[in-house]
């Protein structure tokens, strides 16, 4: 047979096979990956996937897997994972990326696949535990779930019946499903939601919220021309993997990457321009760039004219001036003129030529300017929220808002499907979480809890932490221990956690919760201009069902008695209100079988059938139910290219009996259409006659606008002006608490917040792969400082804050600028009991002497025998230092954010100092709290309408109007 003939025949056979395969909607060619690590098993073969067993090499042993999708739980990105369920062992053998997930597109960071370490951790918590000695003694007994649920439910019930609804608090760490816990708490009628956000992102959010009524950026990195990151975002930032892959994509296309990061992070190493500013000066740089765009008229005038609330600024702040656009532009020029490159160079200590060059690059981006800030500088500094606000000023000048390659408000790139029940929000206000001292705080003032309780402002009957570790994570951890040890202040403490952590050692009940493949949740996050939902599911439950197995609840398939939260909360709610008389049970009942408990299947069936547009049709086309589709694909993209929602015309049927203000805000009597997307946004108040805001008039047309009081981008925040902060109402530069003017001569700035791309806050203590890569946190110090302080590489150093000191190892590096030191998050984990093992927790002793508290290292983690042979092999014993203990609370008077940067002095360790030891004075920490408290303006002093907080600002639970009114005895300040 001739070669051409052979080829023709083979070609035709393959073509026929391909056409038949593609007709079934399946993938024929996976495409070359170069080497196969980058390719993914095609979807149609997930039910029976074969791989050779790597451990059996060189023997070729085939292993067959069912690939079940789920969602990573190790950061908020919610990337898709594929669990490889081994059909022989019926257990998960490994995790890889889910190519069907539109956000992560089959890729993961190291933490995703390391989920296998978490679920097989020989020291994980497998059963409900109750303390069997004094609180904090570290002694436990195993109890049944029934006992735990009954005992906790009884306490909750008695608090609710007694009307002590502000005494139940649930403190959330890693978010699970958007709004789920909030709805549970709402069903109990309590204002008990407490988040970690004020030690995390609330300043970054505040800057966004005051501009747009939405609280996060969603940058369209992949299509940007210029990317501007105020952070190590590409390396470790929020939505790390989904964003990093899109930034890389843009860079491949030639986009310029500008990174502001004091530290030489991995992100900085990828930048075209790396600017290492003096910490806290970032807003000055942003304003210098903005000023350049303004003075040189390089901004989008039309966009500014149409979409900024410039009229409101003129009217409120400059009533003496003409209210026309040209006057506004002149005033804008005059206002920002002081922010020259010289000024920014002096503040940031960056060459002004470089700043000018960067500004010129920014000016070339037009609408394709993608910027991002989340924690970093915003979370470090007094007034950090203005860094976020000034960054968005650049976008707003360029018109790069919700444009291709620009930056979107998160809510337009996110979909939170309406669930089966949405209980009413509570008729009670929790003063411990939302004290009237901080009326503008973006989120709960959770990190002040020990101090507020210490001042006698209240107590807690039942305190839950949910995948959260405040003793370790929050500033002033010793004050947390103090609070938790006092049963008169915290009546009952329940830790819902998958792993042991520093806080759970002080709990009354420790309840084991599942990891990514052991629980249900729905997730949707803004990662590009699109909307998707992803399904986290207990994969062995889905697998068992596919094999005809009967699963009652997720505990049946999870290791030990590990449970998922959704079923836990439903069960707990039933036990609080077994007969339904408290009105709680109704929100946890089946609609299909009234009087029966709501199951997770019914809960998700309802959502997928009714609240995810396009999903039922797509599922039907594959012959599946919507739930079946999500169980098999793991994610669904609802919309791609959402575009500029604010420019959409408001439909006629929403414009009934309208009233339009002088500045063009339109109110309507038409009821708000019921949306299946309940993504939270700002919620501007109705007008005095009760009509709801529906749009804004722009050039004679009623457009949808922004969810702000004015309906426009609020360059000027009337809210800030009315609530006592006129001077901060427009984007501005606030000199940080660590500004050089405020430091003593021997002080430096400590940057303590940076993360490592391979660790998961404190949940990765036993993720062996991750721990092997990163397990310690030396203090970065510039060689100039090291020489000045006579510090050498193998020395120990003392780092002294206002309230204490820790002893650490130095890392002398040019990766940090002189005058600044840096120490990473995650490390310095500890335990004071031998009841548990760990790869990264050192054994310590906690000691006290009056107001002084000491953490004394006893022994480093040691290899140990367990079901996993690797625990006997780990080789590291340097696990770093717990730096957060020496940080007093620094609540920003406006955003409420804890301002993490510290003024510290660094010196050589003293004789007898031991690596890892920490010493704190609680009297001093209290004094710092009181000093910062004096910077606030309380609601009593500034509220223009007698409410505790502007009602239009977002809030996870939104108490009734009645509960939002100030009471005479609200503040003890």
């Amino acid at each position: 047979m001739s070669s051409t003939f052979r080829l023709q025949e083979a070609g035709e056979r393959v073509s026929a096979a391909r056409e038949a395969t593609e007709k079934r909607g399946e993938t024929f060619y996976q495409g070359p990956s170069g080497i196969h690590l980058a390719s993914h098993p095609p979807f149609e073969r997930w039910s029976d996937w074969m791989e050779l067993d790597s451990k059996a090499w060189p023997t070729k042993k085939e292993r067959r897997y069912a690939l079940i999708p789920t969602t990573c739980f190790n950061c908020e990105s919610a990337c898709g994972l594929l669990a490889y369920v081994d059909k022989e062992t019926n257990q998960v053998a490994k995790f890889e990326g889910n190519p069907e997930h539109p956000g992560s597109r089959g890729k993961n960071c190291a933490k995703g696949p390391a989920t296998i370490n978490q679920i097989t951790d020989p020291d994980r918590i497998l059963f409900p535990l109750k303390r069997s000695a004094n609180r904090g003694d570290g002694k436990w007994e195993k109890i049944s779930w029934d006992t735990a649920l009954d005992e906790i439910a009884a306490k909750l019930r008695s608090s609710i019946i007694a009307g002590r609804k502000d005494k139940i608090v649930c403190h959330i760490g890693r978010p699970g499903e958007d709004g789920f816990t909030e709805r549970v708490l709402a069903s109990w009628g309590v204002d008990g939601h407490n988040s970690h956000t004020n030690v995390c992102s609330s300043a970054g959010r505040a800057g966004w919220h005051y501009w747009t009524g939405m609280d996060r950026p969603s940058a369209d990195f992949a299509n940007a021309k210029v990317i501007f990151l105020v952070s190590a975002h590409l390396e470790t930032g929020h939505y790390f993997n989904p964003h990093a892959q899109r930034i890389t994509q843009a860079k491949e296309r030639g986009a310029k990457l500008i990174v502001l990061d004091t530290r030489l992070s991995n992100t900085a190493t990828h930048a075209d321009y790396w600017l290492s500013p003096y910490p806290g000066s970032e807003a000055a740089i942003n304003l210098a760039i903005a000023n350049y765009l303004i003075q040189e008229e390089l901004f989008d005038r039309e966009f500014v004219r149409k979409w900024w609330n410039w009229q409101e600024w003129l009217e409120c702040a400059h009533p003496e001036l003409e209210a026309d656009f040209e006057t506004f532009i002149s005033l804008l020029k005059e206002t920002y003129a002081p922010y020259t490159f010289d000024y920014a160079a002096a503040e940031s200590r960056i060459d002004k030529k470089v700043l000018l060059e960067v500004a010129e690059i920014v000016a070339t981006a037009g609408e394709k300017f993608a910027s991002h800030i989340w924690r970093s500088a915003a979370a470090g500094n007094l007034g950090g929220w203005q860094i976020s606000r000034t960054l968005l000023l650049i976008n707003a000048l360029m018109g790069a808002i919700a444009t291709e390659g620009g930056t979107y408000p998160n809510a337009w790139n996110k979909y939170v499907p309406r669930p089966i029940y949405t209980p009413p929000h509570p008729d009670v206000w929790n003063e411990l979480s939302w004290p009237s001292d901080y009326p503008l705080s973006m989120n709960e003032m959770s990190f002040l809890l020990p101090h507020l309780i210490g001042q006698g402002r209240g107590t807690m009957d039942v305190y839950f932490t949910r995948v959260y570790n405040p003793v370790w994570t929050n500033p002033d951890g010793m004050a947390w221990i103090e609070m938790l040890l006092d049963e008169s202040k915290v009546g009952c403490y329940v830790a819902l956690t998958p792993t042991w952590n520093e806080t759970s050692y002080f709990a009354d009940y420790v309840l084991p919760m599942g990891h990514a493949s052991e629980r249900h949740d729905l997730a949707s996050y803004e990662q590009y201009d699109g909307q998707w939902v992803a399904f986290r599911q207990p994969v062995l439950r889905t697998y068992a069902n596919s094999q005809g197995g009967e699963v009652q609840d997720t505990r049946d398939v999870n290791p030990g008695e590990v449970w998922e939260e959704n079923e836990f909360w439903i069960e707990l709610s039933w036990r609080i209100d077994p007969d339904g008389s408290l009105g709680i049970r109704q929100y946890h009942e089946s609609k299909k079988n009234p009087g029966k408990k709501l199951t997770v299947e019914e809960y998700y069936e309802y959502i997928f059938e009714n609240s995810v547009p396009g999903l039922p049709g797509r599922a039907e086309a594959e012959g599946k139910t919507p739930l079946g589709f999500m169980q098999s694909h793991g994610a669904f993209e609802i919309k791609n290219k959402v575009g500029q929602i604010f420019t959409e015309a408001v439909p006629e049927n929403e414009l009934i009996e309208t009233a339009t203000t002088r500045l063009g805000r339109v109110y309507t009597s038409a009821a708000k259409p019921v949306s299946t997307n309940i993504v939270p946004t700002g919620d501007p108040d109705p007008d005095s006659s009760g009509k709801r805001p529906v749009g804004v008039v722009v050039d004679g047309e009623v457009r949808r606008g922004f969810p702000t009081p004015s309906g426009k981008l609020e360059f000027f925040s009337k809210t800030l002006a009315e609530w006592g902060w006129k001077d901060q109402a427009i984007p501005n530069y606030v000199k940080s608490h660590i500004h050089p003017d405020k430091l003593e001569s021997n002080q430096m700035v400590l940057i303590s917040t940076f993360r490592l791309p391979v660790q998961i806050h404190t949940r990765s203590a036993n993720s062996k792969w991750l721990d092997e890569i990163a397990h310690t946190n030396p203090v970065w110090i510039n060689p100039i400082d090291a020489e000045r302080l006579s510090i050498e590489e193998n020395d120990l150093i003392r780092v002294n804050s206002e309230i204490g000191y820790f002893v650490a190892k130095p890392w002398i590096t040019q990766g940090i600028r002189p005058g600044v030191v840096a120490c990473s998050h995650h490390m310095g984990r500890w335990k004071f009991t031998d009841a548990t093992n760990s790869l990264t927790m050192r054994r310590v002793e906690l000691d006290s002497e009056g107001a002084k508290r000491h953490l004394i290292p006893k022994s480093p983690p040691k290899p140990y025998l367990s079901s996993d042979p690797d625990t006997a092999r780990f080789w590291w014993n340097d696990v770093g230092v717990h730096q957060n203990l020496i940080f007093p609370v620094h609540p920003d008077p406006i955003s409420g954010m804890h301002c993490w940067h510290q003024a510290v002095s660094v010196e050589k360790a003293h004789i007898g100092d031991e690596f890892g030891e920490v010493h704190v004075d609680l009297d001093k920490s209290k004094a710092v709290f009181e000093r910062w408290l004096k910077m606030t303006k309380t609601a009593q002093e500034v509220s223009p309408d007698g409410t505790r907080r502007p009602r239009w600002l977002m809030r996870p639970l939104k108490p009734t109007k009645r509960a939002s009114l100030l009471q005479p005895a609200d503040s003890l300040k």
Binding site: T4, Q8, A10, V14, S15, A20, P32
Partner: protein, 293 residues
């Protein structure tokens, strides 16, 4: 210029992409294997060949040091860029290159009903890929693969050679790739100064004209009763030279001569084999010179 009709081009394209899939080194779908007539055993043999014996990276066979990457890989990446195709992570990996070839031929079929600047450009792209970047190493590679994997991989090997033949049938050289151009000087035959120099030479297919697989070394060791260690070829050779000198070199000399003969025997079908056989012959002569008293 004579052209294939669109149907033939489409068949070529389909086969190129199917072969690319097979060359991935993962287990392809059963439907694809059935269509090509490759059974499970064949699939395993191909995988073993690609993973353990002859890694199919062009740079190994085209670079002076015989390693993956380097200048030859950069050149291939440059080709992707020149035709505005995104450079994959390993541009010189066989499967990437075959897939690209399939895509180019597919495009060629689309524009095959007349000679336009577009169709001409596509054809030039195809020939450049094949003549400069693929055929110069793939032809000798496949002949060696045939020797190593035997009949189990024969469908894959035959189809790949068929594909190259059918495209080259209607085209002319020149092969401008270095392996073709650096025609060895046959005048001065120098002996190898020491085992290090020999190892450097023999492990570079570009220098020696010889493609050595781990199993070749294992066979040579076995025939001499030597112990072969596991690892990179140069370490295996080093280990062997520590145990045996002259006999080893003689045995390798025979192996080299066989390769020269193999290439020579097929060089009328594949012009690209001529420099390979010349180089192998020189290597053989150098071995003999080294062995000479």
């Amino acid at each position: 210029m004579t052209r294939y009709p669109a149907t033939t081009l489409l068949a070529q394209a389909e086969v190129a992409m199917a072969l690319a899939e097979i060359s991935e080194g993962v287990v392809p779908s059963q439907v694809l294997l059935d269509a090509l007539g490759i059974d499970r055993l064949g699939c395993e043999a191909i995988n073993a060949l690609l993973v353990s014996e002859l890694p199919p990276f062009a740079s190994i066979y085209l670079s002076l040091d015989g390693n993956i990457g380097g200048e030859s890989q950069v050149e291939i990446a440059g080709f992707y860029r020149a035709i505005s195709v995104k450079v994959p992570p390993n541009p010189d990996y066989l499967s990437s290159m075959l897939y690209l070839l399939g895509q180019i031929i597919q495009k060629e079929a689309e524009f095959s009903d007349g000679e336009t600047p577009r169709s001409k450009a596509i054809e030039i792209a195809k020939l450049t890929l094949l003549q400069q970047h693929l055929a110069p190493w793939l032809v000798p590679y496949l002949l060696r693969a045939d020797q190593i994997a035997g009949t189990s991989a024969s469908v894959w090997i035959t189809l790949t050679l068929d594909l190259i033949t059918s495209i080259l049938e209607l085209s002319e050289g020149p092969f401008s790739q270095q392996i073709i151009n650096d025609d060895p000087d046959q005048g001065q035959i120098e002996s190898f100064a020491n085992s290090v120099e020999f190892i450097d030479w023999i492990t570079s297919p570009r220098l020696s004209g010889v493609i050595v697989a781990p199993s070749d070394l294992a066979n040579i060791a076995k025939s001499l009763g030597l112990a072969a260690r596991i690892g990179r070829k140069r370490f295996v050779l080093d280990g062997l030279f520590q145990q045996g000198g002259r006999e080893l070199l003689e045995e390798i000399g025979k192996f080299v001569a066989e390769q020269g003969d193999l290439y020579l025997s097929r060089s009328s079908e594949f012009e690209v084999l001529q420099p390979w056989s010349k180089k192998a012959i020189i290597t053989h002569k150098r071995v003999l010179a080294t062995l000479a008293p």
